[in-house]
């Protein structure tokens, strides 16, 4: 079957891709700028076509715990929200990580802290990549930079989640969620009929009971579990790093940016190169695992790096750790829901050369 071409908002692309990839359940709560996802799913009513359950929960907290319940049955389940809602979900997310359950969480980020603004931001980087809730854990974090990637990362997210039995977060933002672009949609897949061996589905006489829990009252047992998680995260660091390089071959300066900022930087590079400044972009596609090795290699070839993010400077810390002092690293970006303009990036770059 051929892919279908549509013009869609990023939010709509997430919803349509969820149906087409054969998701079993979606549990959400309205919040700007991502309410289109729940609205789209309710209108599409996939329960009557694919059997996908769609439910508007009474709260973000309930929604993420519904995801826990569904995931523990081995189902492909997801939730979406925006920054304040994602904060509310953190309890559920750490339990899901602690119970080693697969699921997809989409954060269409808006500016904060607090109620903040409904306009796009990238100020949830720390929350997404360093854990977010309590305890030692990581999410696999995917950063889409186009509507096409909003669609594609639904399937990729579920694949990674089930491969590693680990929650996956798609860290988007209000700009990508709200904008429309061309998107090639995969044909409808059937929902999976296979039940993972670890899923709770009722205990037949032929196997031991399955207990999905994140509790271990024995510190030695808990530490063994923590070590198991560490090993898993190291494997993910080894195997799942994804990034895109843009005009890095001859670059003397590297911009590091993900999502909307990466798109802005591509324009900045066009403007800067017109002025004879050789600058390239490294766009992390996975924020955890972070493209540490590649940045360290590039650092040996360039004079400076700038982390461009719509935040007070969060990813810049990971860029600095990656570069490990080889070249100067700066942060530049707007906050408060203001999208950085391409010209501003060029001006900042020039001020540091």
């Amino acid at each position: 079957m051929e892919k279908e071409l549509r013009l869609m908002k990023g939010n709509e692309a997430v919803a349509e891709a969820a149906i087409r990839t054969g998701a079993d359940g979606y549990f959400g709560y309205p919040i700007t700028p991502q309410s289109e996802i729940l609205e789209y799913l309710m209108e599409a009513d996939p329960y009557h076509t694919t059997g996908m359950v769609v439910l508007q929960a009474e709260s973000e907290v309930a929604a993420i715990n519904m995801v826990y319940g569904g995931a523990a049955c081995g189902k492909k389940v997801m939730t979406t929200s925006s920054s304040p809602g994602i904060s509310l979900k953190q309890e559920g997310i750490t339990y899901i990580a602690g119970a080693e359950l697969p699921c997809l969480i989409v954060n269409v980020v808006r500016g904060g802290p607090g109620l903040g603004t409904i306009q796009p931001a990238q100020s949830d980087y720390f929350q997404a990549t360093k854990g977010g809730g309590h305890g030692d854990y990581h999410l696999i974090v995917l950063a889409p930079a186009s509507v096409q990637e909003m669609a594609d990362f639904v399937e990729l997210g579920f694949d990674l989640a089930f491969k590693y039995r680990n929650p996956v977060m798609m860290l988007s933002d209000g700009a990508i969620g709200q904008m429309m672009e061309k998107v090639w949609l995969s044909p409808q897949k059937e929902r999976s009929k296979t039940v993972p061996a670890w899923a709770t589905t009722g205990k037949p006489a032929t196997r031991d009971r399955i207990i999905i829990t994140s509790l271990d009252l024995d510190p030695n047992g808990q530490e063994r579990f923590n070590q198991k998680l560490v090993a898993k995260y190291n494997e993910i660091r080894e195997k799942e790093v994804r990034y895109e390089e843009f005009q890095c071959e001859d670059a003397e300066y590297i911009l590091v940016a993900y999502g909307t900022s990466a798109r802005v930087c591509m324009k900045s590079i066009q403007l800067a190169r017109a002025q004879g400044i050789k600058v390239g972009l490294l766009r992390p596609i996975t924020l955890f695992p972070f493209p540490t090795k590649r940045l360290n290699e590039l650092a040996g070839k360039v004079k400076m790096m700038v982390s461009v993010e719509m935040s007070a400077g969060q990813m810049v810390e990971d860029v600095m750790l990656s570069v490990n002092g080889k070249v100067p690293v700066y942060h530049f970006g707007r906050m408060g829901g203001i999208v950085t303009e391409p010209e501003e990036v060029v001006d900042f770059l020039k001020s540091k050369i």
Binding site: L7, I118, K267
Partner: protein, 181 residues
Amino acid sequence: MTEEIIIAGFGGQGVLSMGKIMAYSGVMQDMEVSWMPSYGPEMRGGTANVTVIISSERISSPIIKHFDTGIILNQQSLDKFEDSIKPGGVLIYDSNGITRHPERKDITIYRVDAAEEAGKMNSPKVFNMIVLGGFLKVKPIIRMENVVKGLKKSLPERYHNLIPMNETALQRGMEIIVPVA
């Protein structure tokens, strides 16, 4: 070819849907497109604007400060975006309700009195299609057949009976757009 367009006016003037039809028409012509609206409280009754980029290449930033063409449909938007048009660019505006007309000398300015024309046609809803017709006359970047295909794609099927009227409106826009000396 890359055309960077801002469309701005009141919510309810069909600003966002004009942008969507433009973008869909670009898709029908095998172009890359992006449609980036202003969103939030300002959608609800206030001003609305959308950035549409149509390009033969991969589109970099969907959010930009300078535009090849500004399609401006009220005074606030004219005040806000007149200076955002690149030197040598194009400004298209409807003079209805405009008290301070555009003043720049380094851009080409066109007037399309679409509100008045829509009134004459007894069909206020085709206002935005008249404006779009004017734009396509000045910047024929999309073939009319693809605009009609774009219309079909962006309108729900139950409104497809309105497509001929929209085509007429596009034609009217092409006829009534005039350069401002």
